[in-house]
């Protein structure tokens, strides 16, 4: 039987709402949890053997026992021939943790997406046979946490990063990627050295800073992916100019001049690269890659040739040199093809749509 909590009339079990006042009916049967509590603990059935009673006891192969997040980036695992889907969250125990395959952060066993980078936790990394792993496709409305702030990724074709800044937190960004903001969100300008150099090189003369509390949102102007990179302490990452969307205030920002005239003229990315460095605290860096984004870890001395316009980011330990190959065609003399030779060790990120879209 059910009864209406407002008028106290009783109804059959199949009724949902009270016929008199429209209130949702309440079942008279005792709640399920009461039955569970009535069972003595020693009579409860043992959990399945694949569910460890404690995090340290015989973890299943899908999950990792809780441990602090890896301080350094771990190389991608052995390439898998095909994507494999798993549902670790559905089987995780209350004390288990799931390691994000993209950023290595540990998450609660019930989480569906990584708290630090937004990568879906129920889908394994997609890795091509040649060793490139695809940046995780962040599900619509996924929330990412950093400091006292959150970032919600909205949309999938041209995604928007909406930041809810907590008090004391701040982020910095190039001003042209700002989509909207609360009118009371405090703003300031980051002091930069070498302003004339930056102006001549076509880089943004001003880096804007937004301070919490307040909301502010960012997007770029082409189909692509948000690449969320939680940077562990002590990481140096070089990013193609104009590719970074925003970074948290724990990350220090500078820029490095690309060495070599050939690299500047034919490298397809101008004179400077952005460099992001974390000190003793982790930070969050968001980039926007045109098209799809792929990452590969190069071993020490390993090299790969990349279309310069496709370069997106690299560890500072990776060296990059542009090489020209002449393609001749008889009378017309042919043309030259410029490729960037990336030499490990470290990560290299590329974007599959490599035309640079100017926003001015």
């Amino acid at each position: 039987m059910k009864h209406c909590p407002t008028c106290q009339r009783t109804f059959d079990d199949e009724k949902v709402f009270c016929g008199g006042d429209g209130t949702r009916l309440v079942s008279d049967a005792p709640p399920a949890y009461a039955e569970q509590q009535s069972v003595p603990p020693q009579q409860q059935s043992a959990p399945p053997s694949s569910w460890p009673s404690t995090p340290a006891a015989s973890p299943s192969h899908d999950y990792q026992p809780p441990q602090p997040a890896a301080p350094q980036y771990q190389p991608a695992p052995t390439p898998q021939p095909e994507s494999q889907h798993a549902a670790p969250a559905a089987h995780a125990g209350p004390l288990e943790r799931i390691r994000c395959e993209w950023c290595q952060a540990m998450n609660e066993g019930t989480a569906l997406s990584c708290r630090a980078c937004g990568a879906p936790l129920d889908i394994k990394n997609l890795i091509s046979e040649s060793g490139w792993r695809e940046a995780p496709r962040i599900k619509d409305m996924t929330e990412i946490h950093f400091g006292a702030s959150t970032c919600q990724v909205e949309g999938e074709i041209v995604p928007v990063a909406e930041i809810n800044l907590g008090p004391g937190d701040s982020i910095f960004f190039e001003h042209h990627v700002m989509l909207w903001k609360d009118d009371r969100t405090p703003m300031s300008v980051m002091p930069l050295q070498g302003g004339i150099k930056r102006a001549l090189a076509g880089m943004p003369f001003i880096i804007s800073v937004a301070h919490g509390p307040g909301r502010i949102a960012f997007s770029r102007d082409a189909t692509g992916e948000l690449v969320v990179m939680p940077l562990h302490p002590g990481v140096e990452l070089d990013v193609r100019e104009h590719a970074f969307l925003l970074a948290s205030h724990h990350i220090s920002y500078s820029y490095i001049r690309i060495k070599g005239l050939r690299n500047i003229l034919f490298g397809g990315q101008g004179m400077f690269m952005d460099r992001f460095v974390t000190g003793n605290e982790p930070g969050l860096l968001l980039m926007h890659g045109y098209g799809n984004v792929f990452e590969r870890y190069l071993q020490a001395g390993e090299s790969i040739m990349v279309e310069p316009g496709a370069f997106l980011y690299k560890d500072a330990s990776v060296t990059m040199n542009v090489e020209t190959q002449k393609l001749t065609s008889g009378f017309f003399g042919g043309t030259g093809m410029n490729l960037a030779r990336m030499i490990g060790p470290g990560r290299v990120g590329i974007q599959s749509m490599y035309v640079h879209h100017h926003t001015d």
């Binding site: 997609l126 695809e134 279309e307 017309f332 043309t335 490599y354």
Partner: protein, 304 residues
Amino acid sequence: MTYDNAAQHGGPARTHTCPWCGLVTDGTSLSCPACGASIDVGAIVTDSGWTELPGRRDMAKLQFGNSFCQIEGTYVPVADFNLAPGDGVYSAHHVLLWKDPQVNVSAMSLKGAWKRLFAGLPLIMTQAVGPGHIAFSQDSAGEVIALPLQPGQAVDVREHIFMVATLNITYDWFSTGIWFNTRNGDETETHYPLGQFMDRFFAPQTPGLLLLHAAGNVFVRQIPAGHTILVKPTALLFKDPSVQMQLHFEHPAGTIRSWRSWGERYLWLRLFGPGRVAVQSAYAHLHDNGRSITRHSNATRQQW
């Protein structure tokens, strides 16, 4: 998707015929090894008869010869080739994304360089021979179309759509014959709504793999003999050589035939069956200066 349970007839246990390329497999893999189409998804056909390019799993793997091609990504897909020794591919050089250092890339000579130069077509095709990895991508959001060509099969492709082909596919190009002239004072301007040339790919003796890149979504339709259809010229992707083309002009009724009245015209490409045609949903804007057409290639006309 077609499954044939041949066991009842004394044949092999079960076969699967790919609705896109027609390859018959045992249906145990997740995607067609010849074109990458997912085999667990049925063909999507509109009421009007257009078949949507079949869904493709990310990281779908294609095989040709002793080599493999993996299609990676969904927004701007990458074709990642693992070339076996002796196998090779050719492409326009601007679609190269990355390669192993040991993969040698060289120029492939093309005939009619002057004409190609003036038509805005790439002067140089590059070819790469295995062993090693090499990857290609185009610079716009869309789909990679895998067209396995059987011996004796040819396909005509609109310019700048071609991405990569295996070396056992021959490459040729021909004049589209689709043009019109406009006059501005003493100046006569020639327009090619479809482009001045089309690419033709032909597999003479052995099967080959042709990869195209389309902007937006792709739809294919079989036009029966004697039937015709009008498509926007810049939306055409490829067609069978048996499909003939000509221009078609339409004019809305009631427009005043002033000096600008031609500005309200619609330019169509009329395609005659029999054969297969494919269109893309994100097409380039066809600029029409609106001036009077003085001459044109074979065309039909309709006044609304």
